[in-house]
């Protein structure tokens, strides 16, 4: 068996009727590596996440995780293979407390009927573990509030805590700092660097390039569903294809300059 957290993607393609969202993408992630995934809107980043986490099966290609073929496995089984994720548009349990949101993800794999009764000692272990995750993302003091009452940055941190509670060896973060202020973004980057990355492989989708180059040693760029560049952050961000995909040609830049 390969070391935990290794991901191999070969020739991955996803078509939605006439639209090809992802075409022939290869990607390799080594154990413990952090990869940044960038690309303009609609370039296939979330589709790639959805394929890895089993939202839908690919039209072609293979995904293997830790040496096992997981192509087309359903989402809850993939999650139990210890692939965790967060969502660009948050998916919390709004009317459960912050504490319960994290607790729901722990032991999710065990059969529910065996979970009707949990001993006192096991419950203390569980409580400690959940509170540790909340402390890591700075939400320990809000454990008893409803998830819906948190501000956006808090909800994103809660989603991260929930994903971490399932102890994934591969973590997919979809715009973890989306909609955050610069200060909140720095805080999030720090949490990811200290608590999410050690001991696991991570793929981060993010438009905030400062944050990405701080977290990831390698970047992969998608455009129109194809991989157009891959390498160190510096090299990728100087690649002319990437500049064109991201910023448009120089002509276009001039035209759009006043708007931005």
């Amino acid at each position: 068996m390969a070391s935990p957290g290794t991901l191999r993607i070969e020739g991955l393609t996803k078509r939605f009727q006439a639209l090809t969202a992802l075409e022939d993408v290869d990607l390799a992630l080594e154990s413990g590596e952090a990869l940044g995934l960038i690309g303009p809107n609609g370039s296939g980043k979330t589709t790639l996440f959805n394929l890895i986490s089993g939202v839908y099966p690919p039209s072609a290609g293979r995904i293997s995780f830790n040496g096992n073929d997981i192509t087309g496995d359903p989402a809850h089984r993939i999650s139990r293979r210890s692939i965790g994720r967060t969502f660009q548009n948050l998916r919390l349990f709004p009317r459960m407390t912050v504490y319960e949101n994290v607790r729901a993800a722990r032991h999710a794999g065990a059969p529910a009927l065996s979970q009707l009764w949990v001993g006192r000692a096991a419950r203390r272990v569980e409580r400690d573990a959940v509170m540790d995750r909340l402390a890591e993302v700075g939400l320990a003091d809000r454990a008893e509030d409803l998830a819906a009452e948190l501000p956006l940055a808090g909800q994103r941190r809660l989603e991260l805590a929930r994903a971490l509670a399932a102890k994934p060896t591969l973590l997919l973060l979809d715009e973890p700092a989306g909609g955050m202020t610069p200060a909140e973004t720095d805080h999030m980057a720090e949490i990811i660097a200290t608590h999410a990355m050690p001991g696991r492989s991570v793929i981060v989708v993010e438009h905030k390039l400062d944050m990405l180059s701080r977290l990831c040693n390698r970047l992969c760029v998608l455009n129109f569903g194809r991989k157009i560049a891959e390498g160190t952050a510096d090299a990728v961000l100087r690649n002319p294809d990437v500049l064109e995909a991201y910023l448009g040609t120089e002509d276009e830049q001039d035209r759009h300059a006043p708007v931005d």
């Binding site: 998916r91 349990f93 459960m96 729901a104 999710a108 059969p111």
Partner: protein, 299 residues
């Protein structure tokens, strides 16, 4: 005034069993956002199993209650596999329509197996009523109310204190997030159906034990009571289901006393109609209905 108070007390006690039926509907609705019309008929299979055990072995109340639960659970799993698990990804209305078809199937099967139609069910109690001042309390109703209250407390503990309850609430609040948190939604759903079956069986046992007789029409009756109580309380709301059941019981008791038995059901439907027009979210209107309305507004 005395009559009113007496009816209120009777209505609340009978309403507690309606509340249990509404809770069963609500649990299934919470897990799948779908209505199981065959919920009442599944309970009816349970009470006939109870009657069978009673007739064949002159079994005591505990054994009859156990047989009711087992019968109801088996019928519920049958309905869940056929109408819900099989069309999990299909339109919600497919489940509802097929649960109606299976309802007819179950009712026919029970009618064939029990051709006399009306069968005796053992009484919950044959003790005479207790008088408190000028008010009187039928023992069956008191037992019904106490057992129903205990069931609600246990259900509360299951939903709020156990991991199963946590998973069920997670599925009902955000199925997508639940799936990516590793929760096995099909398994949690099946268990929600089983929990609903047991709660419904307890309600069926209490009601049949008060009436002391059952017919295959019990299925229709239980589905209607449970659905009305759930709609009054608010689709998908647990406290709403309880309040809706109690309200339905009181409306029935009052209209039966003041207007006559023939107006009892009519008044229940009128109250439901008034709620649907004036307060479609029910007493404890939840997100489900408001979301639908928002979606409708956007169209």
């Amino acid at each position: 005034m005395l009559d009113f108070v007496q009816n209120l007390i009777d209505g609340l006690m009978v309403g507690s069993s309606y509340a249990l039926l509404a809770l069963g509907f609500t649990l299934i609705f919470g897990a799948m956002r779908r209505l199981n019309l065959s919920y009442g008929p599944s309970i009816m299979v349970g009470v006939f199993a109870g009657t069978l055990v009673h007739m064949q072995y002159s079994a005591g109340l505990i054994a009859v209650a156990a047989a009711t639960m087992i019968g109801s659970a088996i019928a519920t799993v049958y309905v869940e596999r056929l109408c819900f698990a099989a069309v999990r990804s299909g339109a919600a209305v497919a489940s509802m329509v097929s649960s109606f078809a299976v309802w007819m199937q179950i009712e026919e099967a029970v009618t064939l197996a029990f051709p006399r139609r009306t069968y005796a069910f053992p009484a919950l109690s044959d003790a005479p009523p207790i008088y408190v001042g000028e008010l009187f309390f039928r023992i069956e109703y008191v037992v019904m109310a106490i057992v129903a209250a205990l069931v609600m407390l246990v259900l509360y503990a299951i939903l709020n204190r156990t991991r199963f309850g946590l998973q069920l609430r997670a599925v009902s609040q955000n199925p997508v997030a639940a799936r990516y948190s590793g929760i096995n939604i099909p398994a949690v759903t099946l268990q929600a159906f089983l929990l609903a079956a047991v709660i419904g069986a307890i309600a069926g046992f209490l009601i049949a034990g008060t009436d002391q007789q059952i017919t295959p029409r019990f299925g229709l009756w239980a589905t209607i009571k449970g659905l009305i109580a759930m709609m009054l309380g608010g689709l998908g709301s647990i406290p709403g289901a309880i309040l809706g059941g109690l309200l339905l019981g009181v409306v029935e008791a009052q209209s039966q006393w003041y207007l006559g038995t023939e107006y009892r059901d009519l008044m229940a439907y009128l109250v439901l109609f008034a709620f649907l027009v004036l307060r479609p979210g029910g007493l404890m209107g939840t997100v489900a209905v408001t979301q639908d309305r928002e979606a409708a507004r956007r169209l």
